[in-house]
Symmetry: D2
Subunit: 142 residues, 4 copies
């Protein structure tokens, strides 16, 4: 699953036992794993990949994130991770995320991450040219 | 390690290999694990425990959180998780967190969580009386 | 992806940053997550699900497992988790697992789990009838 | 906590919510995290550290492990991870692990890991001299 259209890229993900906690629901930290899956698949859907960016000597560490937990996901749920880009700046960009149960309209979790761009030395760097253009083409604005 | 004083409770935590990622630093989701350790030990230091609260039929799910990543923690670092309570409301409270390397003053990560209070049925509930008073006694205001 | 044939069920899985460690490879514990995904999808492919078993009041805790690490999986690898059942006994069964990079023949990790069957009270129980028959139909022997 | 004596090194560890799963117990993969903590603290107690070994250009990847799950650990349990070395060979060594609840004699989990020694290039290497001697001094035999 990996579609576009309204600016949101969608990727599917099945909840493992290992994602849940003793409360019977997905552990709150693990939604950040799901956000990571969403970002990675969005970039892949554009014809590049985060691994390729790394091989060119760049990384995109998360410098800020926020999550709002509306309703819990549970074991074996098939989730849809929606991801879109809402800002592309010289040395950073911003991803928005929403998580739903597949086939349902109730929002489970939403949030964003701000990712910086750095060289392998950890110093802020500008996006490689083609990469920035690629992100801008799907950027929705905030 | 578990001290008070300036409103911040401090707990120590050693970074495992299993906390890190291929970037050579702690994976961004895992700081939420560290925040959890901080909240749990703060409550224990007040003479109660989160497990005890659960046994009385209440849970405190995180409904919102934010993290700002300033500088990465690395494998085998001994971290200090600082936690304080900045708001106690009828059906929720707010924890602030800061993470440092032990003996260093450079802030690595900071953030907060807002925790609701619910009964075992998942419905918002008021804190049990003694528990709320206990949190208020160390609440620092926002 | 979910095929059968030679007794091995196959399911695909993409390695996240969150699965890796500072050694640049998948953290050794996380292959047990991948094994879990393999078992779950094998059971689903048979027309049932582990969640359904739970809803009938049974669980299948792992009582023993072994892993042999031959070659490391890395960030963004697309893995194939191969799973088959090699023993079905009254109160337990045994799953074998092998992990490959998709399209490659080099074995990365292999291992097994022995899963007991218990009621919700944690006591050993016999498999529900239909469930045991279902597992036996794909059991390969040891 | 970090004592020796009967060959077993002991280190304490508090179970987080994030270590548990929807079954209400510690997720089976996470005991390998606890084993890692045990190995790391055993080496530290000998006056060296795994990080130091890495800085000298060596790593000790796990090439095999086994776990036997006797009784589940639960949220907020204070665990004692017991670790000892039972073999030191030219290019590998073997750690045994046992996990108990603090103050209790019932075994929860036991297992072992076999760790190879490699250079940064991933090729098998001999232990640096002093390091091997250090391990041999606490080796208990199998």
């Amino acid at each position: 699953m990996a579609e576009h259209g309204d600016g949101w890229h969608r990727t599917g993900l099945r909840v493992l036992y290992g994602d849940t906690d003793a409360g019977g629901v997905v552990y709150y930290a693990n939604y950040l794993r799901f956000f990571e899956a969403g970002r990675t698949e969005l970039i892949r859907s554009l014809g590049s990949s985060y691994r390729e960016l790394e091989e060119r000597g760049f990384i995109m560490p998360v410098v800020e994130c926020q999550l709002r937990y509306k309703s819990p996901a549970r074991y074996d749920d098939l989730l849809v991770i929606e991801t879109r880009i809402t800002a592309v700046r010289p040395v950073s960009c911003r991803f928005e995320h929403r998580i739903f149960r597949k086939g349902e309209s109730r929002l489970l979790v939403k949030g964003y991450t701000v990712n910086a761009v750095t060289g392998a030395d950890g110093r802020l760097a500008r996006f490689p040219d083609g990469f920035r253009t690629m992100l801008e083409q799907v950027c929705c604005g905030e």
